[in-house]
Amino acid sequence: MSAHPVARTLRGFSQALARTLVSEDAAHARGLLQGIDPRVKLVGMMALVVASALSHRVDTLLELLAVGVGLAMMSRVSLWSLARRVWLVAFVFSFMIAAPAMFLTPGVVVWRWGWLAATAPGVHTAALLVLRVEAAVTLSTLLVLTTPWMWLLKALRTLWVPVEVIALLAMTHRYVVLLAETANQMFESRQSRMVGRVKGREQRHMMINTGGVLLSKTMAMGDEVYMAMLARGFRGEVRLLAEFRMKGRDWLMGAALLMLAVAAVVAGR
């Protein structure tokens, strides 16, 4: 049976679902970042991500990455899991894109292997790109890993995101998991009924039909959800319960993160 695309899709769904569960676990652990007001965390970590984007120096980017590692350790986020899921993927992807720049950028040759010649500006450019991606991904992943999704969404109000958008994001997230599960079940039931070799054209039809059924279910579910919302008293207004209260350590942490970001911007010029 040649069901590789189906198997790959199934694996994608499983990984996405597993990741959802893992991130919720980390968000409820007792660590430094988990105990901070989500609004402070959102603004502080975003400031660090922007600082990494503004930085033009390799040493500053390495320091920002070290800050990320330190925060992860103090927040009891597994470094092994971070390395496997974030650093490795980001490194492979960004290195693949950055590597040719080492040889294509004109400048003083620092390494030669046959006709391949890496230049100093090329290596600098590639290192900047890879480190910047690593630092930004680490910091943004830490924000998501240490904050329950609903809190993160509510904190988005601090950045003037309209309340309807927050409601939409919350619903989308909830139904992503549900639809992924539904699609997973559809593929599993289909795969369990497949015998022999399935041609590419048939596989394609199968995938598209599954997508079509999923789309039908999606739209039907949209109407059902609306009915359920009406039944629960929805009158066309979206309200969020804002229960965040700033404490002393939130102010301290906020000030520390912003100072770090400003220092990184100044040092990285």
Partner: protein, 369 residues
Amino acid sequence: MHIPDGYLSPSTCATMYAASAGFWWHALRKTRRQMMGRALPRLALMAAFCFVVMLFNLPLPGGTTGHALGVGIAAIVLGPWGGMLAVSLALTIQALFFGDGGITTLGANCFNMAIAGSLAAWGIYHLLSMGSTAMSRRRLVAAALAGYGSINVAALLAAIEFGIQPMLFHDASGAPLYAPYPLHVAIPAMMAGHLTIAGLAEALMTAGLFGYLRRNEPALLGLAKSGLAKDGLATDATPKTPRGLWGGLAVLMLLTPLGILAGGAAWGEWAPRDFADQAARAQIASASGNHAAPAAVPTGLSKLAGVWTAPLPDYAPHFVKSAAFGYFLSAIFGVGIILGVVWLAQVFTGRKGEGTETDTAEKSEERER
């Protein structure tokens, strides 16, 4: 295509956020009233659907596989504004929750894929399917091209954003600070994969989902006009009369004599005799940035100008003395020819007549599946 953090400069990211914000604001304003009702869960679920569809590995002809974005079908089902909101939501969840695409580059990613992609898909679909019947093959092709166009427009924009980075942001030695490849490298590198594999995946997915919805849920596509249509048993073979269109056409025809008000000849539409006429030469020079026309008629122009003599030269038959009436007559004649050609095409392709439409459409749909 999901640009990660670090590839674009902060100023590019800020510009793209600002550009996207304008569209988001307008899309929210357009859909806010509906969002207080059924559209709220529908948008969220369509966003969730786009997210899940992006995980599908679609087998493509040739043995490879590709991912679709779902922009094409979202724009066709929800319209351009709903489509751009739904895809933006899916991209936001991907960036925030799954680290697919950066946070600083979210504005650029949403602009490329959700905003430009949705507008391109919606525009292509409506342009190519205009006037076609619900079950026509043309509508299916329009959906496929909408998907293909949307992903390629998004890829081109991403390539341009990558390509301008080394031009604008480099250090004193000239080494790029962000994405390192210039436009002449970034555009071919990006487009090669999208014009082939990714574009094909999006086209197949959009056309496939469109075909499925057309057969089973025509109401979602705005194609159902009756209960029969909802059951997939009938089509809108007799499309609603576009009264506004006919009215607009009539007004335009009545306004055609306004063309006389424009002085001189249209730029580049000169006749060989204009080169010998002093007044015409002066007009050509002033319309061409004071570059004088050649002293003699260009050889190619004089050779080819007489190949075809129009039956109504200068929009007026010889026997009509009034230029305004000649223009009006030409408009009637031109529109009449176009309508006649369309009618003949319908007769020859068997599209005219409602009786056979349902059967043939059903059969062609079966063949496509």
